[in-house]
Amino acid sequence: MTELQDQRGRGGPASAARGIGTAPVGAAPIEVRTSIYKMMVEMRDFEKRAYDLFLQGLVKGTSHLGLGQEAVAAGFAAAMRPSDYTFATYRGHNHTLARGAPMAAVMAELMGRQAGLMAGKGGSMHLTSVAHRMMGSYAIVGAHLTIANGAAWSAKLRGTGEVAVCFFGDGTTNIGAFHEALNLAAIWKLPVVFVCENNRWMEYTPISSVTAVAHPAADRARSYGLDPVLVDGNDADATYAAASVALERARAGAGPTLVEAETYRHGGHSRADPGKYRPEAEVQAWLARDPIPLYRARLAESGVDESVLRRIEEAAQSAVDAASAEAAASPPPDFSLVEADVWADGGSSWRR
């Protein structure tokens, strides 16, 4: 039996941070909550469109959609200050949009167009918008946890109060960099928040079959002198609350937090993967806990008018339509970009 399970049994510290099923006490003000809803709906519509465009051959290469995991990205983004840093994985569309990167530029990047967020040089797996403090999407598992530490270290030395928030998957908890990053963050008391989006699957392998503990992140927190924090990743109020606590702790100089948010990807791992390796009952159970209708109902209950919700939904659709059209209208990037920006001088020359 893992320690975390122990603690749950005893109603220990981990339980406090859990919020499964109900909004935690002290939920966010209603404007924040409607903005969370707006973000989630935009992400959902964007990802669905990206999938359609992939099937049409307009989105190239690979893409890893965040469908189903919106409540993590939105809850955290809502709690972050504009000056905080985001580090994400290849499954980073949600996080990029959540920080305010323009939808058209993100879509154009997926399509490999000049108007792309990085003019097509990075692609879906490397979305970056420094202007929005979205410090990058990283496609090799593990590395960015150590890089997020660096931003936090720098913030600490510079005394800015900025916090780095780093998102990654359950599978990432088994790679060496995870361990190194967590230990360093703890001993240096860095203002960093590590968020494991536990969607239960690596690519095609269930995380439980390759992990020595039940909760790949939370059950390892003690190894770094940290308290386990487990949160319902499909409940945006819960993720917002967990984010607020962790960000506050980081800003207060109390060091890192490791949050495990339990969630699920609605689709396959990437591209056209139908995700058929997953048990149908598991898929259905999680679809029934789709974070978006759940949150919609909760907002309605809280008194948000149906018309407000509708407007949000319609606006999101229009925004995605406009963004897709704008992206599709952009030409492919200029060939000169191939040899540009290896160096700060704008070029790529290795000789003189």
């Binding site: 190239k60 490999g112 003019a119 090799i140 599978g171 095609y204 079959s209 191939v338």
Partner: protein, 324 residues
């Protein structure tokens, strides 16, 4: 003789060797019931079961360490590193441990193991999933380095790699997975370190590897239209390197062009060029030209990636430059 894809040839080669030798095991991420993310190990799990075909966590160092320790003690593992870019997360095990152990122990330890990996660009995956890193491996003493260009060679060279008593890095070129070719029935076992002349011409020698072989052949076709006849050599293996075949051809043609997916600096083409510049300098009638990816990380957008990798047009231009 059946036509099959390069992808299916991988599974066939693995199955051939696992069938023959019970000490051969397959280990890696999603290699088991999922059949590999490139579907190159489909059917292997069903045939040989979970003891011999093992899925792992995302722990590349642990995967290769396990392969090494197993090879030291009686197994012949085939380990998969999903994308060759990921060698960077486990390079210590490859370059510092696997490559050096026989030497450091004065021959006490044998490491009969194969590490397969999907290599190279063309899939619009961006800079971290598209590198051709066979030159990283070539630079490390103690590693054999193989990169087939046809389905038949996949089976034969994989078999040779598995039977080899030394560690072999086996690069499967991503862009070739869907390519089809004839593969004879029955057991196929090839020989490491043997290049193949894919086309013969007296005007220039073009040396290529993996996905650059079909491109070089296309360039040769185009050049033939201009009356230029080139020899195209498929190296197939970088270590051992078939210097004899290359040098003999250069002596005949007087011109050498290397075509590699590696970014420019310290790509394998540099090594081949330096050997010829040392051993056959006086046979050369023109500059040695290297056609490479420019020294840049690969861009993701299709238009940019296509422009970055060596194109048929650039190979043609390279041959012309060497002939001037």
């Amino acid at each position: 003789m059946a036509e099959m894809t390069y992808r299916d040839a991988v599974a066939r080669g693995i199955a051939q060797e696992m069938e023959r030798d019970p000490s051969v095991v397959l280990v890696g991420e999603d290699v088991g019931s999922a059949g590999g993310v490139f579907k190159a190990t489909v059917g292997v799990f069903d045939r040989f079961g979970p003891d011999r075909v093992v899925d792992t966590p995302i722990s590349e160092q642990a995967i290769l360490g396990a392969a090494m320790g197993a090879a030291m003690t009686g197994l012949r593992p085939i380990a998969e590193i999903m994308f060759s870019d990921f060698f960077a997360v486990c390079w210590d095990i490859v370059a510092n441990e696997i490559a050096k152990t026989r030497y450091m122990t004065n021959g006490q330890v044998s490491l009969p193991l194969v590490i397969r990996s999907a290599n190279g660009g063309g899939a619009r995956f961006g800079a971290q999933h598209s590198q051709s890193v066979e030159n990283w491996a070539m630079a490390i003493p103690g590693l054999k380095v193989v990169a087939p260009s046809t389905p038949r060679d996949v089976v034969g060279l994989l078999a040779a790699a598995v039977r080899d008593p030394d560690p072999v890095l086996f690069f499967e070129q991503k862009s070739l997975y869907p390519a089809k070719g004839d593969v004879p029935e029955g057991e196929i076992v090839d020989e490491l370190g043997t290049a193949v002349v894919r086309r013969h011409g007296k005007d220039a020698t073009v040396v290529a590897l993996a996905a650059m072989v079909p491109r070089a052949l296309e360039a040769a076709d185009r050049l033939a239209g201009e009356g230029v006849e080139v020899t195209v050599i498929d190296l197939r293996s970088l270590v051992p390197l078939d210097v004899t075949t290359v040098a003999t051809s250069v002596t005949e043609t007087g011109h050498l062009v290397t075509v590699e997916e590696n970014p420019r600096l310290c790509g394998w083409g540099a090594e081949v060029a330096s050997i010829v510049a040392e051993e056959r300098l006086f046979d050369l009638d023109g500059p040695i030209v290297r056609v490479t990816t420019p020294h840049v990380p690969l861009p993701a957008a299709d238009a940019l990636e296509d422009a970055a990798m060596p194109t048929v047009a650039r190979i043609v231009e390279g041959v012309r430059r060497s002939l001037q």
